[in-house]
Amino acid sequence: MSNTTPQSPTFDFRNALNENRLVGLWRMMTDFRVSYIAATLSLAVSALAKTSVYLLLRFFADDVLAKGTRFGTATQTFLWIGLGFILLAFVEGGFAFLSGRLAAYTAEGITRRLRDFLFDHIQRLSFSYHSQTPTGDLIERVTSDVDALRRFFSEQAIGVGRIVLLFFINWAAILYLNVKLGLMSVVVIPFMLWVSMWFFKKVTKAYEEYQAQEAVLSTTLQENLTGVRVVKAFARQDYEKNKFEKDNWLKFLKGKILLLMHSLFWPLSDIVLGAQMLFGYIFGAFMAINGEITLGDYIAYVGLVVWLIFPIRNLGRTIVQTSTGMVSYARLMDIVKQVREPLTDGRVQPEGPVRGEIEFQDVSFMYSDGKHDVIKNISFHIKPGQSIALLGSTGSGKTSMVNLLPRFHDYTGGHILIDGVELTDYPRKYLREQIGIVQQEPFLFSRSIRENILYGVGRSVTKEEIEAAARAAAIHDVILSFPDGYNTIVGEKGVTLSGGQKQRVTIARTILKNPRILILDDSTSAIDTETEAEIRAALNGLMENRTTFIIAHRIQSVMKADLILVLDKGEMIQKGDHESLLKQFGGMYRKIYDIQTRIDEELEVEIARAN
């Protein structure tokens, strides 16, 4: 089989969106239906072989022993029959294995491409989706719900088929032996199926309660362990022991209920099924004595009827479990139906880099909830290579404004032109290649420092280039001081970097990326005073010949910019360079400037007072 060589057939799971969940699940099986059907057919062959074992036994009893049918000598005949049993076992086992393997291929294959699809889909969903959706919830869905679907395909879908096939094939065989016997063997089956479904629904509920109590217990435990200092500080050990004891005991009681249910269901249903079976035996035995059926018929019947009756309870269980798969399908489709951000769509498909001329014309933006403008009527124009600073307090719209440039969000009013072309005409991917962002809170991935510097650079880079970038970002020496140098893993498994160090790694990354437009989002705020000068120097080098947006809150950081915008509640209240803004007495810029001067003076007074 070619199954062992991995192949990840791509499938757009958006095609599996359907009101009817079963239809949706069936669509998910695209490309795997043949193997799924083959798995089911193999099961049928396997079940047929099992049934044939008993028919062969019947032949052995009736024809060979009773009637004396022979192939060669008596011993040879017995040998043939013996070989027949072995052959049937091979057929049964072989096809059972084939079926299991095909079912695994189906379930694991579908799961793999579902995982791949979800991963890719999620990273292509919009910024707004991500800011609205808690990470924990997404993770829960892509792990537990995917696993529930895997079980649906590997166990439940096949399991229902297996039990149903087993039932009908064995039933057909019994009916073939004797219709009367066949009909009276299934009297309790519908009842039992109903009872077991009823029971497993109940038990699922009781189990959920048991699990809920387990969760309560875990929370108590977790809070106790994380708050161990509080517990010790208030010497509350006994109180905590009592609290845990209460939860622990309650869980024990819930477990007891659950076990009582199980310990009643299994033996009680055993009685019902056993009665049915025994009734069949007596009925069959009388028929055999009366000559209505042969002894062989009876022996075969005794073997076959077991496969008819007892799996019914599990059918009830499996049917109840499929509802879990259905719920998971719906939960995953909630993600799948979200619209992706088109990365490559754009009216223009430019060849080379942008020059970096940017013009805002009355730009406004509001989030899709549409309550109020986050920024409104912003207009300015800067030439390639110039720098523009945005000054304002938290919530003034600085970050929202720069987020428009890489099209993380699309503006809702006005125009933004880059090199004279409307921003929304550029493909998002192209824009993001042209723009480098040094974020306020640097995010590194748990991989080596080298990989973090190379992350998203998207071209092959020599070792020298990486080190040059690290040097320019004033981080090279720090990296070398780590035991594994550039191969040091960042995060829990390796070293923990300080905020400033992380920041410099992201600056090195941006240097390598070499974008035409640069956004520095309060990039020095997370940095300790000693390294601030170094980073400032690194950033100044980076800004050369690039159109740069600087977001800052200190005059010192913005005064050298070619253009300064002062923002307040999304509105641009002042625009100009440092000199001209300083002259606008009563303006916000002047006010901030004065405050900062005053702080220096107050500090002097404070110190003078101490002296």
Binding site: D120, F127, G303
Partner: protein
């Protein structure tokens, strides 16, 4: 998620010395031995009856049908029917006994572990990640209780079934029974091998699975960076490598499982073929009946179930034993800090507190404090300032006796504080942590944590003193408002106020505060300040200070650097020195005024560190003072 990764790590570890552990596991059952005897008898009977039913079928064929004797047949059927009833009663009993006993053993183990954890010292918590401890109490106890109940049930059933089946087979025809007993060990051997291979693949797939979860986590957390850098395509390729690994392992595990039963069955069928051939010959000479052959067919067909059960229990047993070893190791760990045999309760902490040439290091043995000496007068307010990692939190940890010095002494009222009982010290110290910790439950319950016997009025009085009352009454349900898991329904500032009220209620003599650096709105900030002042009035207090107002109010400021007092004195004295404090102060001053005038945001600073996937999943508290103390 975290637990799963920890489990995966720990599965690697199994000790060779299983016998003593096994013995100790069995001792867990001692108090419940009646239950064990009960389920052993009932499962044994159930299993024997299963084998007997097959024999009864044979008798019905041979004695009833073949001879045409309806009377015998009905008699046999009556026996059959009554045994079905008897067996049902047995099944009821063993499911109930074994199941409830399993729950009980788990309950016992959890109680034992939890109570022991309460007594362990803080140093233990610094060395062992919370996730690990949780895994100990939740999953490890589950595995052990499964082993001592269902593990025993399954293996007893399997062994009894095999033994009784063989007995009946011997009764029917001993020569054919020998064929079965030859093939049986082969079946068990093959089954055990299979289970081991399957387990290996299964573990591989679990490991791959946790990596997949990690990748999802990191990519979602860092989605803004991914988008900004346009790295979607490479990420997908990397992710596909993981899913391919996962696919390979779980596909292999699945088809090995699918191969397992058929293989065992085929081995059984070979025996069956031999029996039919040889038995046929014997029928000729009247040594076996057709009913006997039928019985052999049944016995062999169902033989795979006990074999499978045995193999499974055996394979899982190693994990359960490893779990038990970890549990016992925890239970056997004595607390580092405990009362001396002749310890006396401390009457009061309102006395002179002296650190006398104290040396201290954490588990990594890097010296944190060396030759540290300090004398504090009753009622004094001490502010500790200085860089992170300098030793501020360690001083506080030692003072609270969460740790004890390796060299030198700390004395209260002129007496070495290890002469006092831990409880008497702890019950007189109030601690307000940087990130306040609340428990699930109502606001009232959380405040009352400070003094369990406090009346409702006293709780509200304490809240008023701490400045928490005003915001509490604005909550939808006031004092009865649920604070959510770890108090996460409230803001940090609100949690801080409640934890202040909790400390007020405890009526303490020594007060320790680790001031929050994180942003709290100005109003809450001033409430917290007032609450602190109320709390510190007339008490000795230590504050790891970040706010200028707090620092200025202190009777004495200690600048702690590299485990030493770099500078000490009042605010004015230190400013005049133009040293460390001067630099620290001016920087802080500038920043604070900027915030005050609204021209700057609160510094997020280094403590809000980068979130990477594994730091989320395995937030391990490192044994450095920062995380131990600043929590």
């Amino acid at each position: 998620m975290a637990e799963e990764i920890i489990e995966l790590e720990e599965e690697e570890y199994t000790s060779q010395l299983t016998a003593p552990v096994l013995k100790r596991i069995m001792q867990l059952l001692k108090p419940h031995w009646k239950w064990v005897v009960g389920f052993l008898i009932t499962i044994g009977l159930t299993s024997s009856l299963d084998a007997y039913f097959t024999y009864l079928n044979k008798q019905m064929v041979d004695q009833g049908i073949a001879l045409g004797n309806k009377e015998v047949l009905l008699r046999l059927a009556t026996i059959y029917g009554s045994f079905i009833l008897l067996q049902s009663a047995m099944i009821f009993t063993f499911i109930y006994l074994a199941g409830v006993l399993g729950e009980r053993v788990q309950y016992d183990l959890r109680k034992l572990l939890f109570n022991h954890l309460q007594d362990l010292s803080l140093s233990y918590y610094a060395q062992n990640a919370v996730g690990r401890l949780i895994a100990r109490v939740t999953s490890d106890t589950g595995r052990v209780s499964d082993l001592v109940t269902w593990g025993i049930v399954d293996s007893t059933w399997a062994i009894m079934n095999i033994v009784t089946s063989l007995t009946f087979m011997t009764i029917i025809n001993w020569k054919l029974a020998i064929i079965v007993s030859i093939i049986l060990p082969v079946m068990i051997f093959v089954a055990t091998k299979f289970q081991k291979y399957i387990l290996v693949e299964f573990r591989q797939s679990r490991r791959a699975n946790s990596k997949i979860t990690g990748a999802y986590n990191e990519n979602i957390q860092g989605v803004r960076v991914v988008k900004a850098l346009g790295r979607e395509d490479e990420n997908l390729v990397e992710f596909q490598e993981l899913t391919t690994k996962m696919y390979r392992a779980s596909y292999r595990a699945a088809w090995l499982s699918a191969l397992f039963l058929p293989t065992v069955q085929i081995i059984a069928a070979i025996a069956l073929g031999a029996i039919v051939w040889y038995g046929g010959v014997q029928i000729q000479i009247g040594l076996i009946t057709i009913g006997g052959i039928q019985a052999f067919v049944s016995y062999l067909t169902f033989m795979m179930w006990p074999v499978q059960d045995l193999a499974r229990v055996y394979a899982e047993m190693q994990h359960s034993i490893a779990s038990a070893e970890r549990i016992f190791k925890l239970v056997d760990t004595p607390p580092d800090i405990h009362n001396k045999p002749d310890a006396i309760p401390a009457q009061t902490l309102m006395g002179k507190i002296e650190f006398d040439h104290v040396d201290f290091y954490y588990e990594d043995r890097k010296p944190v404090l060396t030759d540290f000496t300090l004398t504090v007068n009753p009622g004094e307010m001490i502010a500790l300032v200085g860089p992170t990692g300098g030793g501020k939190s360690t001083i506080v940890n030692l003072l609270c006796r969460f740790y004890q010095p390796q060299k030198g002494t700390i004395s209260i009222n002129g007496r070495d504080y290890t002469d006092y009982t831990l409880e008497s010290i702890h019950s007189k110290i109030g601690i307000v942590l940087q990130t306040p910790h609340l428990f699930s439950g109502t606001v009232r319950e959380n405040i009352r944590y400070g003094n369990l016997s406090a009346t409702d009025e006293q709780v509200e009085e304490a809240a008023k003193v701490a400045g928490a009352h005003d915001f509490i009454v604005t909550l939808e349900k006031g004092y009865e408002q649920n604070v959510g898991e770890s108090g996460n329904q409230l803001s940090v500032g609100q949690k801080q106020l409640i934890s202040l009220a909790r400390a007020v209620l405890a009526r303490l003599e020594l007060f320790i505060m680790d001031e929050a650096t994180s942003s709290v709105d100005t109003l809450t900030e001033s409430l917290i300040q007032k609450g602190m002042e109320a709390l510190m009035k007339g008490r000795t207090s230590f504050v790891i200070a970040h706010r200028l107002s707090t620092i200025r109010r202190a009777n004495r400021i200690l600048v702690i650097e590299d485990g030493k007092i770099a500078e000490q004195g009042t605010h004015a004295e230190l400013l005049r020195q133009r040293g460390h404090y001067y630099r620290l102060y001016t920087q802080q001053f500038r920043h604070q005024l900027e915030v005050q005038y609204g021209v700057s945001n609160e510094l997020t600073g280094d403590d809000r560190s980068t979130v990477t996937a594994d730091s989320i999943m395995m937030r391990r508290e490192k044994p450095n003072e920062e995380s131990v103390a600043a929590d």
